[in-house]
Structure formats: C-alpha cells, structure tokens
Amino acid sequence: MPKATTGDVVSTEDQAVPTVGVTAALNEDGPAREQTVNTFELHKVNVHYGDMLAVKDVSLDIPHNQITAFIGPSGCGKSTLLRSLNRMNDLIPGARVSGDVLYHGVNMYGPKIDPVQVRTVIGMVFQKPNPFPKSIYDNVAFGPRILKMKGNLDDMVESSLRRAALWDEVKDRLKDNAFGMSGGQQQRLCIARAIAVQPDVILMDEPCSALDPVSTGKVEDLMLELKKEYTIVIVTHNMQQAARVSDLTAFFTVAAMDQTNSRTGVLVEMDETRNIFSNPKDERTANYVTGKFG
C-alpha cells in the first residue's frame, strides 16, 4: 500500500496561502497569534470498530485557524476519523482509537484526558441539522448553561447568533421553537450553538449535505468568516465545496484488506487544496477529483 504523502503543513505570514514543506522553525520568533501552529497532529492513527479496522495508519497535521477538508468516497473513514478528533467515537460501543492524536502536543487519548472536557474545546456540527426541540434561544444557551459559563447569557446568545450570521433573521423570534426554522437556518443555529461554548476547533461532518444550494452558500460563507477565529475541519462529499472553502485537503480512499476481507479507509495524500485539485501527486486522487472514480 502506498505511503501517505503528508507534508508538514505550516502557514507563513501570508495566512491565506499556506505553504507545504516549510518547517516551523522559520516562524518561531513571530507573535503567538500569527505563529504557525498545528492544532492536531496525527501519527499512525488506527480506528477499530470491534474487530473491523475502519481507518488505518493515518498521519497528518491540521493547522491552526485554517479550514482542512477531508474528502473521499463513501466508507473511506473520513467521518470516523473526524469523530475521533473530539472523542465522539467513544460513544460507539466497540470503537477503539490507537496511535497518537495530539491536540497542541497533548495526547487526546491520554489517561488524564476527559472526553467531556475535550468536546467543550472541540465542537462539532453534524450532517443533518439537529436542533433541540426547544426555542432558538434555549438551543444557543444550552452549552453556556450546562458549562456554567460566567457572563450575561443574553449577550452570549446574541453574539453567537451574530457570528453565525443568523441574528438578523431570528432576533424577533428567539422564543420560537427551532423546529420551525428552515433547514439552512437550523444548521446555522447548530453552528451558533457550537460557537456559544467558545471552542477552539469546530468539526463539521458533511454540514451541507442536507441543505439546498442557497443555504449551502450561506454556510460556506460563514465557514470562511469563522476560520479567523477557529480551526475548522470539514468532511465533505462535495468536491466543489472542498475547493471553495478549504485551505488544505486530505484525500482518503477505501482499501480492501487482503487478510480480513473488510473495507478500510486510508489516507492517500494531503496537500494544499489547489494542489489536490490541479496537481495531485497520486493517480487515485487525480481519478477521484476528475470524477473517474467515486
């Protein structure tokens, strides 16, 4: 099986255009905010469901305050890998993660790490909008309430909704049930809900797959806005979407394992998004992005 070509991804002073292969040492003296930092560093990560190997030997880095996209055909393990980044996999009986998942250098599966605490720092938005069957206000306020965050709750709700570009649409009906919103609004509400707990990272699992094109456009605009403050990892089936919003793209595929006859996801390559789409190193990536496969 081919070796995953994972570069040490580092951004330069020019935030918009990350370059691949430059070492972090170059930026060591810069101010902390602009310094290149990897939010996640994965080294030889395997994810098992019971006896089934779902993701094999993934090593990659996810840089700070950028949008990283995971693409690939169904069953390639991209969602599974995403869910291992905030330990949502812990909730599935039999799921097991091995290898190193480092969050700012800290092993996320270390003995002292608390999965509940992990999820307050690393938020998640799901494939299908899943607002709670409560008012818009209560949806956003849920996180701050359970985490007993200090401060004015009304202000937190308002600022979260503003940053999710939803405030103007809902400010007059905050007490209405969230189920009365359109699908796109519901998804932006879920993003606002995630922002409200002030995470560092937002993981998005195919956030637009249940939305119409107009709503999808709004969510994509929102992502580009949010990456100023958050590291975003997005799983998408939609290659145009990956091309539009992401700075880096990781392409995964399914490899049939000879010994177990099961389907396992592997990382093919990870690079700047424009390289993945215009100049991929691996033939399988080229076939996928040009639509020959998948």
Binding site: A24, E28, A32, Q35, T36, V37, N38, H64, L102, Y103, H104, G105, V106, M108, K112, I113, D114, V116, Q117, V118, V121, L147, M149, K150, G151, S159, Q198, D200
Partner: protein
Amino acid sequence: MSSRVISPGVSSSGSPIRSLEAPGLRIGERIIKGLLWLAATLSVVVTTGIVVSLLVPSIGFFQQVSIVEFLTGTIWAPGFANPSFGVLPIVVGTLTVVFFAILIAVPVGLSSAIFLSEYATPKFRKTVKPILEVLEGLPTVAIGLFAFSVLTPLIRQLTPFLPWTGPFSIGVAGITVGLLIVPLVASVSDDAMRAVPRALREGAYAMGATKFEVALKVVVPAAASGIIAAFVLGISRAIGETMVVLLVAGAGSPVLSFDPTKGIQTMTAYIGSTATGDISQGTITYDSIFAVGALLFLMTLAMNILAIRMVKKYREVYD
C-alpha cells in the same frame, strides 16, 4: 468576551491551550450513574427474590412429598387429615382454562389484528386500538364478576343439553380468560404484521393479488413468528390468570376432570384461595402453595422465553 477560566498550558509550539483534563471528579455524575445502575439491578434482585421465595419452602415441601408423587399423583387433597399432593388435577384445571382461552382468543384476536393492520383506515385504527387497550386494562375482578353474573347464565341457556351442575364452570372461566387476552394477542400480532415491509405487499399487489390474498398468504406467513409469539404470550397470561378463575370456576373441588361444565380448581385458584385462608406458616399445606407457585413460575417462564425469542426473530428480519 471569554469569561471562562482557561487552564494554562503550553503546546509544543508555544501557544496557550486549554486543558483537556476533567475540571473535577464529576462526583455528581458518578453518584447518579450508580443510583441508576441500582434501579436497573433491582430487577435482578426481584427475580432472585422470586426464585428464593419459591424455592426455599418448596425444598421443605419436597422433603415430605416426593417430586414424582407431586408431578404424577392424581389426587389433590392438601387440607385433609391424610393429605395427598398429586398436582395433576389442578394442572389439568389450568390447562382446561388455557384450552378454552386459546379457542376464543386466537380467532378473535387474530382476526381483529388482521383487520386493524390490513383493512382499517388510519382513523378507524386510531379509534379502535385504544378501545382494545381499555379491555386489556380492565380489572380482572370486574371481568370475572361480569362473567359469573352474565356469561355463565347466558352460556347455560344457549347449551341446555350440557350437564351443568353447580354455579361454577371451568369452561366458562376459560372462555372469559380468552376474551381477556384478546387485546394482548391482537396487539402483538398487529405489531408483527405492521412490521412486514410495504414492499412485500406491493410486490404481491403488483402481481394482481387481492387484498384478501395479500393479507392471508403474504402478510400472515411473513409475520408468523410474531403471531406465534402472541399466542404463546396469551397462553402464559392464561396460565397465570387468577381472579377470573376464582370467581367463575370457584375455588372449587380439585378433582381430576376434563369436564368444562364443572367448577374445577386451577393452580392459581389454589394459591389464591389457600393463601387467603387461615393457614399457619410451616405446615405442609402452607409450603404446598410455594411448590405450586414454583411449577406455575416455571411454566410461564418457559412460555415467556419462547415468546421473547420469537419476537426477536421477526425484529431481526425486518428491522
């Protein structure tokens, strides 16, 4: 903007990061989980309690009466100076109840279920199903009294050719228990038939089958394991029914007889009537309640396990 306390820490690359460690021991969460676990485990304690409460006196009982004599004896005379503990008469009484109950509950329950699942409009269904559930929730004491006051005289008038004697009848008790378990049989069968995928019905309709043929030859066979489970659950319920039997068949004579017009004792009626009388603890008669209870428990347990398996079977196929 952020008012949350951020735990200090330094990443490999030098920027401050938030701690991923638990802010506390989450003691409240642990205590709650422990309490919930206790609540769930209580059911095991209850089962253990049932087994122990049946077993301990039964052991005392079987030291005085051999198991073979108990299971094969044909004379049940516990209260007498020279007592006899052959359980067969009251087992036959129970089985007679089950026989008549099934005779009523299977056709009535199954046809109700087929109608509700295959023919009824959603509106009709929504009205009738709750009414059937009301029947299921009616107190058995009320049903027993109704059967004794209305059903028994009615059936006697309809069948003057039968040799009716005395006010009690185990046959009528069985019929009443049958009515009582109709809702159970109907709702479990209905669930099973509704679990049959629409595609199967549509496949048959596409071949030109009529509604009647689809219902009887496609849906019923496909739901067979669930329907059988409904019958088995009904049998189990009929074995354990007490009040109807006490009221309609009487606490009567424990003679070995298959005559449905007579008032014959059943296992449950024996337990119910004996335990309410003045029987001192430690006597063999007192212990015999538990021996009969143990037999009753084993019979229903076997039925229930069978039914759970059958329901699981159709769920695995269609869910």
